[in-house]
Amino acid sequence: MQGGARPLPNVDAHELVLGILLGSVAVYAESFPAALLRFADSIFGRVLLFTAVFFAATYGGWVLGLLAAVAAARMFQYVPRMEGFMSEFEVRVIPEDSKKHEVHRWYNERVLGEHPYLYESDVIESEAVQGFTGRAPGALTGL
């Protein structure tokens, strides 16, 4: 006789818990803290997530690997991108009567005399000037 229902595979309790955990990550990825999502988007975080997907597929079966890949993709989706002013950024409002802030002022407040009422981020990413030869101001290599 052919056809009929195909029995479900025997699911280990650990695999079931891991599956529910990965499914929850995929469902609630948008609620994760921005710092955690930024860590996931770093080189170390990407390697960690890739390794997690690999081990989930190797030791938990390919269905768990697929779930892990979906969860990782969902996490990358909500990584805050520094493109303009968006509500998802961790905007830090400076309270005016904060004594701590009176003591520890930022560089632009102390030196440049600025008085901002909020900061978008306290992490500044900068890169060195590329191709500067020193021969003339603004001279570029190969020009």
Binding site: G3, P9, V63, L66, L67, V70, A73, R74, Y78, M86
Partner: protein
């Protein structure tokens, strides 16, 4: 996985082929063609966690039924949640 790649009978193989074609067309129409918007109901439902949980369950059930269907359902679900979720962030 290898045993699940094979269809049990003709009806199963037809259903698998139909699912692959339908999901493939959905991916092509909604996710790959830029000017084709998602239906309004799908856009509204994406914000609810229970709907996203149903999508995850659909991925698991599709994967347990047929690996090809599971991978395509996962791809469609990720692209759908990515497109609609990103749209919600921007707006």
């Amino acid at each position: 996985m290898a045993d699940r790649m094979k269809a049990t009978d003709n009806l199963d193989s037809i259903l698998r082929l139909s699912a692959v074609v339908i999901i493939g067309l959905m991916i092509w129409n909604y996710s790959l063609v830029y000017h084709s918007p998602y239906p309004e109901k799908l856009v509204e439902l994406e914000q609810y966690p229970w709907w996203r949980a149903l999508l995850i369950i659909a991925i698991v059930l599709g994967a347990l039924w047929c690996p090809r269907v599971g991978v395509l359902v996962a791809l469609a679900a990720v692209l759908y949640m990515s497109d609609v979720g990103t749209m919600a962030i921007v707006s």
